[in-house]
Amino acid sequence: MKRMSRMAMLALAAACACLTAAPAMAQLPKPSQTQSQVYTSPFLDPYLPASDRKLAPIRDKLKELHVLEELQAFLQPLRLPREVKVVTDQCGTQRRPYASGQPITICYEMVEQLLEMAPKIYPQNQQYQKDTVVGGFIEAALHETALAIFDVLQIPIWGRAEDAADRVSALIMVELGEDLENAAMDATIDLFRNSSEKIWTGTDFARTGSPDAQRFFNFVCIAAAADPDRYGKYLGKYDGDKTSGVIVPWDRSRSCMDGVSKYDDGAACNDDFHKCYKAVRAGTEFDQIRKAFDLAIMPYVDQDALIKVRATDWLNWKPGK
């Protein structure tokens, strides 16, 4: 896992780096000419108080790191028809899902959970522990931001909205450069892989979200198609592949890497599709979410502002720079 020096990476979020112009989608609201976007209130402290004594230090640390200001700065290229406020708060639970008209909320309890999980995943490596917390924070922030974007842009969602938010998060992670990809995707994969969530049974399946195991495979699938050199190690190359590190069964691996049936007949690809991944990207889950993003969200990204975002050294970002 590549080391991260600070939480700064968080905000790269919804300002996806796909630079190709996308066709406008019919009937979407017109992009605003104003600078309205995800913002922190200039009048109220967006780091809402934590009455729980365990959570207060987390709140103070997030404020000290200016994570929300950085999120706002990174999301600057977004041109939304109305503003969306972002805050941190004590939620009473690990998550307060985004609701229309309400702020994007990052819960202190979620950060607390990350701080508890990280040492269990990497008991011997404090730097990796820190990276896991940072990456997990980024994933959570991206997820809620994606839900807000869906709402504000009135984007039609096929499938579960929570899965859609995961897929947009995964896309942003792999499209904004290696630093964010390494930090956020690695941590996300580690966190879901080591989830303490019990295996669902019976009416658990009536829940509206997805089990962590399912979310894990969704993230890996997109990551592997986007960066096979780094994440292809998780994919089985043949039925029953027991190679060390392989977690994704062959059937799903093929689905991740080869969404176009005509490539099924290619012996070379079946032997080792890593050799021909560039040829088979079209039709993959990664390709599908990228096309959806380009079509429905990219028209609301200011390209000049995006270039500035990409040109900024976010690892050393400070307020006012």
Binding site: G159, A164, F205, F216, R252
Partner: protein, 307 residues
């Protein structure tokens, strides 16, 4: 030519001789669409007597195929889709697919074709027998009949694949998991043609998942791009209840759809309705859709009865 190859050819020839010829499908006047076509193969028409790869179909499929030909299943499906303005042609066919006993219908992006597999129909009949015999394998939450289950499950599966076809041909942005989206298309379409049809399709598919489900016991059991069968079942029930609350009230009162999920189903349906109206709606000829809705022969009367 080897003996095996000769035998295969002979078998194929015999299969062709035995099968009814349907080279020219005839559609009901007023329900045609030039972008909905049939993938004909020689004398078979769109009801192939082979696998997709050209091998002779298994003899056990003959009865199913004959039934489909007689019922004009593919023709009716094409007529049902007649209101769609598609930018590219969709082809429809039936075959023995891969020659397996449980081949599932599928949509091919490469061929822009939807294929119904004969063996799947056989599987559906097996499910219907198990459910209606009240075996321990599946709980009978609410009443149903064998006819309702067979017809409803067939329609459900075809509508699911229609979802994939629409996503592909209309180039619809799919932000969630496509398989879930295809399930949503299926349920949404099922709800647009009256209470009886909605109940037949949604109940049948939900019972199918109740019948097939084996909850994963391991982490990798969740790796499939489809939801787990139980998830698919609850999703369908929820959309049904969210879209036609009164018609599906028995899902909740029977305990099949847990109240905790049921409470949010109207919102889930609203999300689905928005997605459909925004992304598929503009491609529907409303006048033709009115004709399709007015037609009452999509199912037989017996297939729409709960008891």
């Amino acid at each position: 030519m080897t003996a095996i190859a000769r035998a295969a050819l002979l078998a194929a020839a015999l299969a062709c001789l035995a099968a009814p010829s349907v080279a020219q499908v005839k559609l009901t006047p007023g329900f045609t669409n030039p972008k909905i076509t049939f993938w004909n193969r020689k004398d078979d028409g769109p009801y192939w007597t082979t696998t997709d790869g050209g091998k002779p179909m298994a003899a056990s499929r003959t009865k199913v195929r004959d039934g489909m030909v007689k019922r004009r299943v593919l023709e009716e499906y094409g007529e049902f889709l007649s209101p769609l303005h598609l930018p590219r042609t969709l082809r429809i066919m039936a075959s023995d697919c891969n020659g397996g006993d449980f081949d599932s219908p599928y949509y091919s992006r490469t061929d822009k074709a939807m294929t119904v597999c004969y063996s799947y129909v056989g599987l559906t009949e097996q499910m219907a027998d198990d459910v209606t015999r009240n075996t321990a394998k599946v709980k009978r939450w609410i009443p149903t009949t064998r006819e309702q289950l067979v017809a409803g499950e067939f329609a459900a599966t075809v509508l699911h694949e229609t979802g994939h076809a629409l996503f592909d041909i209309l180039e619809i942005p799919v932000f969630g998991r496509e398989e879930d989206g295809a399930d949503q298309v299926e349920a949404y379409l099922a709800l647009q043609f009256g209470t009886d049809i909605a109940r037949t399709i949604i109940k049948a598919d939900a019972y199918f998942y109740e019948w097939t489900t084996t909850d994963p016991k391991t982490f990798t059991g969740f790796s499939d791009p489809h939801d787990v069968d139980s998830q698919r079942m609850y999703n369908l029930l929820c959309i049904g209840y969210g879209g036609q609350r009164a018609a599906f009230q028995d899902l909740v009162t029977s305990g099949w759809l847990p109240k905790e999920r049921a409470d949010g189903c109207d919102k889930e349906y609203a999300q689905l309705d928005r997605a459909f109206q925004r992304t598929v709606g503009p491609y529907i000829d409303q006048a033709q859709m009115a004709k399709v809705k007015a037609r009452k022969d999509w199912f037989l009367a017996a297939e729409l009865k709960d008891k």
